[in-house]
Assembly symmetry: C2
Homo-oligomer: 300 residues x 2
């Protein structure tokens, strides 16, 4: 399974970066291959100062070796080896009317000292962070997520949609990071889903990504905007930074366990603002967005 | 002691904000008085878009009540009340040649159910974060810190200077936040220093603040700069955000225990950039700064 999934995300990275370059029309991805001293490495691809994408990364990695001590404690295990691979992407468009998107799909295995698999699971998800809210864009994104889930089980979408709303929540601001999407983790083989079933589920999600996001980009990328819109986007990006640095488990884990910093922090937006006690005008579009983020909605 | 110290920081806030307004010459501090539902409150003063200070805050607070559960766990105590007060300041100048400065001086008391003091201590410190390094500015800042410490004990400066280098360190970047200053905590009464001695020590530090920073501001505030200098300042401000949101205990404690978010996050810079894998040109002034931050120096 680990080889199958790693091959899948290698190809998916190619598919996604090619399409994004085509949509961008100006910049191309810069590729960095890196090695992890303890085993494994990754292929980081970053785009900057594009026609559409001000900054973004589509990264894959596959790492293995002895499970780091902090993770042994976290999982309550001793003396085990691991393998983990995944694709992570974050795209920060320049135009404030185009939402930021994030996605991550990953696979994890743990082994005993004889190399026997003692645990394995898939995890991941994707979420959309608009600066100006077009309801139809949120609906489109969620519809594509739901269609991909429904291929496998009619209950998965609402379950993982709720988990996404819970996870991508800036508790210290009492508001969601964005309009959500999917979030799932510890998807282990059980009586109803084999590990191959979970694989089929995850690749259906991964394959649907471009269709969930690109139509929104194409629809909004040429809308005219002013410095007012841009300032609001940069202020909201501040909330994105707050989530990633204060709450996001993946980011914090990477920072505290000697991960490749530049690959982890490619998720941070290019230009960001913090203003003291900033509140949008009541009744404005900016105000409407914040209100929606305070109480996550059902979009489909 | 709690009334004495709170009166002191109220007056110090006035002294510092008046002087900063005079130096700024354009903006004034906006004051917000806030109350903590569980007991106490604060007086937040923020300056934005000034002639010298692009953003800054000089805040005081005094809070009391039952010690929050997370802090009971942290201190290994049960069923105690507390009082805490302090002054916190962060100043982000517009001109990239003027360093950012941070300071905090605080006092803490814990009580048993009969209201008897069972523990008390002072803590605090100050540190300087230049974007372009003028060695003489770092030397000046440290000299003033040392003079204030030396009034009480010739050993305190080097002890607290080292603690500062340890504390304000972005471990995930393997570099210091800035050129340091002082950091001290749990300064409790013992055989050599009574709580009044510690009070005298802390107010000597507090009283020296303007003298440690203002001469540097006056010397650098009119230096001409270009967009290149400004970009570097904004990139380095990203490191400031990383420290405050990932490592700073005070910030994280505030965010996770329902503190007043806008008072806590006033420390975040107004305009910030993150670029992928950015490195200054070898041999440049920007490069020299990073090298110095990798191995904290003795400045006096």
């Amino acid at each position: 399974m680990k080889d199958t999934f790693y091959t899948y995300i290698q190809n998916l990275q190619d598919t996604i970066t090619s399409k994004l370059e085509e949509v961008d029309g100006k910049a191309t991805f810069q590729e960095d291959i890196w090695k992890r001293p303890e085993g494994g490495g990754g292929r980081t691809r970053v785009i900057e100062n594009g026609g559409v994408f001000e900054k973004g990364g589509v990264n894959i990695s596959a790492v293995h070796g002895a499970l780091p001590q902090s993770m042994q404690t976290y999982f309550g295990v001793n003396d085990v080896d691991f393998f983990a691979c995944g694709l992570s992407l974050v795209l920060h468009p320049r135009n404030p009317f185009v939402p930021t998107v994030h996605a991550n799909w990953r696979y994890f295995e743990m082994y005993d000292k004889n190399g026997k698999i003692i645990d394995q699971w898939f995890g991941g998800g994707q979420d959309l962070t608009p600066y100006y809210l077009f309801d139809e864009d949120a609906v489109h994104f969620h519809k594509v997520c739901k269609m991909a889930c429904d291929k496998h089980d009619g209950n998965l979408y609402s379950k993982y949609k709720e988990k996404c709303d819970e996870y991508f929540f800036n508790t210290h601001r009492n508001e969601a990071r964005g309009v959500g999407g999917l979030f799932f983790d510890y998807c282990r083989p059980d009586e109803t889903m084999s590990i191959s079933d979970w694989y089929a589920f995850v690749i259906a999600i991964g394959n649907s990504f471009l269709n969930s996001y690109i139509p929104i980009v194409l629809k909004r990328k040429n809308l005219e905007y002013t410095q007012v819109h841009r300032d609001w986007q940069e202020i909201r990006r501040g909330r994105y930074v707050e989530f990633n640095l204060v709450h996001d488990k993946g980011t914090l884990f990477g920072l505290k366990t000697n991960g490749r910093i530049e690959s982890i922090l490619m998720s941070l937006p290019p230009h960001v603002q913090w203003r003291y006690d900033h509140h949008p005008d009541p009744g404005s579009e900016e105000d409407r967005l914040v209100k929606v983020l305070k109480e996550p909605r059902k979009w489909v």
